[in-house]
Amino acid sequence: MLQTFIQQIINGLALGSIYALIALGYTMVYGVLRLINFAHGDVYMIGAFVGYYAAQKFGIASASGQISFGGALILMMTAMMASASLGVVIERFAYRPVRKYPRLTSLITAIGVSLLLENGGQVLFGADPKFFPILNSAVTYTFGSVTVRLTDIIIVVVSVSLMVLLQTIVLKTKLGKAMRAVSYNLDAAKLMGINTDFIIAFTFALGSALAAAAGILVSLSFPKIDPLIGVLTGLKAFVAAVLGGIGNITGAVLGGFLIGIAETMAAGYLPQSLNSYKDAVAFAILILVLLFKPAGLMGSVAPEKV
């Protein structure tokens, strides 16, 4: 019983780290631009597909569909670069032209971009699922009846280190300072000589690269990919970001883990007739948090500028 419980906690952490990784991108773009980039989940999907095709093109994967650590790293770099460029292109052509209009305009544009990527993906890649190569050293560790997969450990470690890296960039570097300045007041930042267009493009590149990293890591762990994988995963990651307090980097990771564990527990422990509601759990939690703590768990209440 206890071992099953521990196993479910581990399953939840593994799932949660995926949400955390994607939530980082949402929260960073929001932190700087106050824009919810709904296309983020789809950039995650594109990242996975870039990795899939790169593996075939470079001949990294063996005939039986396995890759080494080095191969996976190359895929991740390729996907991150491709997605970063895509992020910049999306920002340049979809968001920048509407930046000076009310925020709602950007939000609707983001939904449009998301639909474009999803349906464009179906045209381009085909809608049938593809299978991503798996790590050739994908081992599992067993303690009693509790099993831990190496890929899950890698995902947890990578998402926590990316979180630390992001914190450092935002809080300790000059670029980060510029990002915070843009976030605080775009016009004032411009007047202070900050190249705001560049900073915003950089933010998108960074966020999209994070999404691609998540895409590759998740695909190594759960190899089935199709053009719609970003929809529900992206939505739950968004919930995670809001739960943790959108704009707050540590909050995004915390929110991701919470959503992952809650969903796993719902699937594992709700009575039979209810366990198909596991996907609803994430959204129920979101509603509860917004009711009692509108700024999220770690978010700060910012007075609306008038």
């Binding site: 099953t4 509407v98 045209v123 049938d128 299978f131 089935k224 699937a267 198909s276």
Partner: protein
């Protein structure tokens, strides 16, 4: 400046919209290249060209279902036309893609009937889609024949709806009888795709049959098509310690489920057992070795030595560059032939006449067994059990409906004992 920006954005959006439309139109045209001009349909006799509509998932998560089925239909039509058609009239197939979505199925079937004026409709594989489209055919009195939708509800939509496969209550029972009688298992876990009519129906009838025989369901779990992480459900299943897992989902998810089950330490000795939704070359790709020793019920086996079955497999492989016909291709082939046969007997393409002849189909010798349509417009026939073994689906057993004896392929009389349930049937 503002207007200029707006203008450019508008141009960009318009251009992409045009490109997307062009792409869609292009594929639509390709698909419709078998389409001919309008047919003059007279009350008596047959028109020169008989248009039969097909709706199938040519794209989407179950695209291999659609491709296989259309290959089967096309082969039946080509053979028929080469042999002089239906009393001299040629058959034209018009294929529409429903993307595996029930709503889309309604749309394309409406189009087939109202715009293309087809005289009969063939499709779908997925029960959810067939259930969505059947009422439209019924309303327009256009006979619809599904080759492979096994959910009970499909043919209950009206007296113009037929099928040439068995139904889920039987398939669920087959799974239960195989596990209980052949493998001597007593403790089952069930893992259902809750959003899928087919999977829910199969789980329900399996549960009824298995508990009635004296078996025990130790745990039931659900997932949804598109889930990638099944660890939570599988951990629950592992804790209940079943002898096998009944997982009647689609091939797209089963491979992943098997893989994650093995990673969690549920050994290959605990097989997954499923239904015909597993039947796809892609099943193996998703799960590989984790699937070894798993079983699924299906409609026919390529190792059936009967002459007409082997002839079908041979001509199919010649026609489609070595592709081995799966059960869906075989059922589609049989389905189309049963429909053509009914039209021939009716010597008419009028909906009610074709309907009456379809209902009279008795002991039609198809690749997937003898097809007799019963009063509920379902086919009564045997199921085969296949074992997944290193990427191949090996014949294991034949299970006949109650009151019928199984006509087992002679080559497969291998000893099957509970002590060695993994032993491969001696397929020649």
């Amino acid at each position: 400046m503002k207007f200029e920006r707006f203008g450019r954005l508008f141009v960009a959006i318009a251009t992409s919209a045009v490109l997307v439309c062009a792409a869609l139109l292009n594929t639509a045209c390709e698909k419709r290249d078998t389409q001919g001009g309008p047919t003059g349909q007279s009350d008596a006799g047959l028109p020169k060209e008989i248009k039969v509509g097909i709706y199938m998932p040519m794209t989407g998560p179950t695209a291999t279902f659609g491709t296989s089925s259309v290959h089967g239909f096309q082969m039946a039509a080509d053979e028929l036309n080469a042999a002089g058609g239906i009393n001299g009239s040629m058959v034209k197939l018009i294929v529409e893609d429903d993307q595996g979505k029930p709503d889309e199925a309604k749309t394309v079937v409406t189009k087939l009937i109202s715009k293309d004026q087809v005289v009969a409709v063939l499709g779908e594989v997925g029960s959810s889609r067939s259930i969505a489209a059947a009422p439209i055919c019924q309303q327009n009195k256009v006979p619809m024949l599904t080759p492979s939708s096994t959910n009970e509800e499909v043919t209950k939509k009206g007296d113009y709806i037929f099928r040439v496969c068995y139904i889920d209550p039987f398939q669920g029972e087959v799974g239960a009888r195989f596990a209980f009688e052949t493998l001597k298992f007593k403790k089952a876990a069930i893992l259902t795709d809750i959003k899928n009519d087919y999977s829910v129906g199969l789980s329900k009838t399996f549960k009824e049959a298995f508990t009635k025989m004296g078996g025990q369901i130790v745990v039931e779990q659900t997932y949804q098509e598109g889930d990638t992480n099944f660890n939570a459900q599988l951990t629950g299943i592992r804790a209940a310690n079943p002898e096998f897992i009944y997982a009647p989902g689609y091939y797209t998810d089963i491979g992943q489920i098997a893989k994650q089950a093995r990673e969690l330490g549920i050994k290959n000795e605990v097989p997954l057992i499923g239904g015909d939704g597993w039947d796809s070359p892609k099943l193996w790709e998703g799960g590989k070795e984790a699937l070894n020793g798993c079983f699924f019920s299906n409609h026919y086996s390529i190792s059936d030595p009967s002459e007409h079955v082997q002839k079908f497999i041979k001509s199919f492989q010649e026609k489609y560059k070595g592709e081995t016909p799966d059960a869906l291709a075989a059922l589609a082939y049989d389905g189309a032939k049963v429909l053509f046969d009914a039209m021939k007997r009716a010597n008419s393409v009028k909906g009610d006449k074709v309907r009456d002849e379809l209902a009279k189909t008795q002991s039609y010798k198809g690749v997937t067994g003898l097809i007799s349509i019963n009063k509920d417009r379902n086919a009564v026939k045997s199921a085969v059990i296949l074992e997944v073994r290193d990427g191949k689906y090996v014949y294991k057993d034949t299970i006949a409906p109650p009151g019928m004896t199984a006509e087992k392929p002679a080559a497969a009389e291998a000893p099957k004992t509970a002590e060695e349930p993994k032993k491969e049937a001696a397929a020649k």
